[in-house]
């Protein structure tokens, strides 16, 4: 086991030193033969040439200060255009003097995401982080939030029920009593509200001027669509994946049907359906915010893809894991939450993050129904006749911003894989 054998007289021998050094490494890996050497030189030359050309265009001959497009002509990159338009690109048509609001909303969301990336937060703290983060984000974006009484009661019921199921084994008697009290108050309150005994009352939090979603634009829109799209699509996808493996034919059929239907349709058509056709089916007078409709479409679409990724993870688990959990007397919920999902999700981290990255970029398709996400505001910045003719600069800038987000996700995937598999592999 862990006992160390006595070494006795034997001198410990250091592992052989790698004597080669950087020069040796280069000789071994880059110039090991004539062909290899020529390839290396040609590739280095090509990369150097492209880099030199790019740096010349993007930095040395670039124009950072021009005040119109005409002044930019003849020189390298026209970064003056970005300088002129960056506020519109980042925040769209949000009232100009209020731009600090979307700025802090973006910061709040990034803080929320960064904090939830830390594995130590994956408990009740996650709920607090997302609760506070979302509240701050939407308060800044809308300026005013009205929380109706019925929503508070509903949250009480759901919170109590979740607490009761997840903590059924661990909760002490008074903790359990608190959950029952929450559910009880919620249900009685909702019943009274429906019966009309309780008034149509809501808490108004209105420190700022109201800004409707049609004025939202730029980075906050992209971030909200992607963050909440994936945050809801993830649990939804898990449910779909579990449903697809269910023994109950009705549940299985519904899940398979939904997944196949959504996967067989382009996101664009789903978005157009949500924006054009859905209102036709709603009773006249009711409207659902266009932004919300796009958000729901993204959730439904992402959910189907995430479900298939997670199903792959579920299928990769050996049958013995299910049997061992069964043989111990765990019920379905316990088996799924404690044994199956933790393992299945670990397996699918790389393809899951890959799907997330794909969806982060796919949110840009909402421009088709006239929502001004980051790519769309960048696009609109080109329309100004004063600055016509520099699409390369603007798209390069947009690409750079997208790249920062996607690359961070990719690095995070790597970190998560290592972190979660610590110790579990031999």
């Amino acid at each position: 086991m862990t006992d160390i054998m006595p070494v006795g007289e034997r001198q410990p021998i250091a592992p052989p030193v790698d004597e080669t050094g950087p020069l040796g490494w280069a000789r071994k890996n880059l110039f090991s033969s004539w062909g290899n050497g020529i390839t290396t030189i040609v590739l280095i030359g090509a990369v150097g040439w492209i880099l030199a050309w790019f740096l010349d265009w993007a930095l040395f001959t670039a124009n950072f200060t021009a005040s119109t497009g005409a002044e930019c002509r003849g020189s390298g990159a026209c970064w003056a255009l970005i300088r002129e338009k960056y506020r519109y690109i980042f925040f769209g048509s949000f009232p100009y003097e209020q731009h600090w609001r979307p700025l802090f909303a973006v910061i709040a969301m990034l803080a929320m995401l960064v904090m939830s990336a830390d594995r130590r937060m994956w408990n009740w703290r996650l709920l607090v982080i997302w609760g506070v983060g979302s509240f701050v984000t939407f308060l800044l974006m809308f300026g005013q939030i009205h929380i109706p009484l019925s929503l508070i009661l509903f949250v009480a019921v759901v919170g109590g029920a979740i607490g009761l199921t997840l903590r059924s084994a661990l909760a002490a008697a008074n903790e359990r009593a608190a959950y029952y009290a929450l559910i009880g108050i919620g249900i009685v309150g909702l019943a009274l509200r429906i019966a009309g005994v309780l008034p149509k009352w809501s808490i108004a939090i209105a420190p700022l001027s109201y800004v409707e979603t049609s004025l939202w634009g730029g980075l906050p829109v992209t971030l909200i669509l992607a963050t909440y799209g994936l945050a809801f699509a993830f649990p939804y996808g898990i449910l779909l994946a579990l449903g697809r493996r269910s023994n109950l034919p009705l549940i299985k059929g519904l899940c398979v049907g939904f997944i196949e239907l959504i996967r067989g349709v382009p996101l664009i058509s789903l978005l157009i359906m949500a924006s054009v056709m859905l209102p036709l089916f709603l009773p006249s007078g009711t409207t659902i915010d266009k932004f919300l409709r796009a958000q729901v479409a993204v959730i439904l679409f992402a959910g189907a893809y995430i479900a298939e990724v997670i199903r792959g993870g579920l299928q990769s688990l050996p049958k013995g894991q299910f049997e061992a959990a069964d043989a111990m007397g765990l019920n379905y919920l316990q088996k799924t939450l404690l044994i199956i999902l933790p393992q299945a999700l670990r397996v699918v981290i790389p393809p899951l993050i890959n799907t997330f990255i794909g969806f982060f970029k796919d949110t840009s398709l909402v421009l088709i129904i006239g929502i001004f996400d980051f790519l769309n505001t960048a696009n609109q910045a080109l329309v100004d006749p004063n600055w016509a003719g520099f699409p390369g600069e603007v798209y390069l800038f947009a690409a750079f911003v997208y790249f920062i987000f996607c690359f961070s996700m990719s690095r995070y995937s790597k970190y998560l894989e290592v972190e979660l598999n610590k110790g579990t592999r031999r």
Binding site: M1, T2, A169, L170, P318, G320, Q321, E323, A324, A325, D326, A327, M328, G329, L330, N331, Q334, L338, I339, P342, Q343, R346, G423, T424, R425, R426
Partner: protein, 256 residues
């Protein structure tokens, strides 16, 4: 030798199988199985590969569903009622050929999981029970490691301890040593023999005839889904009656 001194006929049956039949599709895997297991009895089941040994013991805790006949465990008749099944699984521990430890949990968490979630044992108490069982299987120092960091023999001992954590009345073993390297077989068998000596009711599918001789009250030979022959170990090995038993014993004793 085994607890033959006790008169088993006066002890209560804890497992009864009456005319149990099971099919996999068209394939008749268990045919008219009748079996009575008394409290504290140790039964060894052997037989050629594919004869239905695993299927038989997996029917007892409903990992497999039988189609005809009755299985009564601790007075509860197995049916599709989930509550019944969960009640029986709390009383019946199982050890698998391939260990089936949960790789994402530490050894200690593997052991405390079911007591905490199924029996609602307070966490601290569950951990004390777990540590005492790890002591019993002689690997307390591995408590905070992960299954992947243990040898096969150690993993199987953890699996036994994990099943014991639920304080089961009956233990089922499905070839617990056949995935192990020869030098690790003994450490697992020793734990099982100790368990048998303490009076646990055990049904064990194994080809370890030394183990059968040491602890079994009865050895059952299965072939093609039937119980062909059963007897006390002495008799069973010395004077097998059925031709198929003789052939089988000839093969495995030859190989060992």
């Amino acid at each position: 030798m085994a607890a033959t001194a006790r008169d088993l006929s006066k002890v209560e049956s804890v497992i009864q199988l009456k005319d149990v039949n099971k099919w996999f599709g068209q394939f008749h895997v268990l045919t008219d199985i009748n079996l009575d297991v008394k409290e504290g009895e140790k039964i060894v089941i052997c037989g050629p590969s594919g004869s239905g040994k695993s299927t038989l013991i997996r029917c007892i805790n409903r990992l497999e569903e039988h189609q005809r006949g009755d299985i009564i465990v601790h007075g509860v008749t197995l049916s599709n009622d989930v509550k019944n099944i969960e009640a029986i699984r709390r009383e019946v521990g199982m050890v698998f050929q391939s260990f089936n430890l949960f790789p994402h949990l530490t050894i200690l968490d593997n052991l405390t999981l079911a007591p905490i979630w199924v029996k609602k044992t307070p966490k601290k108490e569950a951990e004390e029970i777990a540590m005492s069982l790890l002591n019993r299987v002689r690997i307390p120092e591995q408590a905070l490691k992960y299954p992947g960091q243990l040898s096969g023999g150690q993993q199987q001992r953890v699996a036994i301890a994990r099943a014991l954590c639920m304080r089961p009345k009956i233990m089922l073993f499905d070839e617990p040593t056949s995935a192990l390297d020869p030098e690790m077989v003994k450490e697992v068998l020793d734990v099982m023999i100790e368990l048998a000596r303490e009076g646990m009711t055990m049904i064990c599918v194994t080809h370890e005839m030394g183990f059968a001789r040491a602890v079994a009250d009865r050895v059952i030979f299965m072939d093609r889904g039937e119980i062909v022959e059963q007897n006390e170990p002495e008799e069973f090995f010395a004077n097998p009656r059925n031709e198929r038993t003789k052939l089988f014993l000839g093969q495995i004793l030859h190989n060992h």
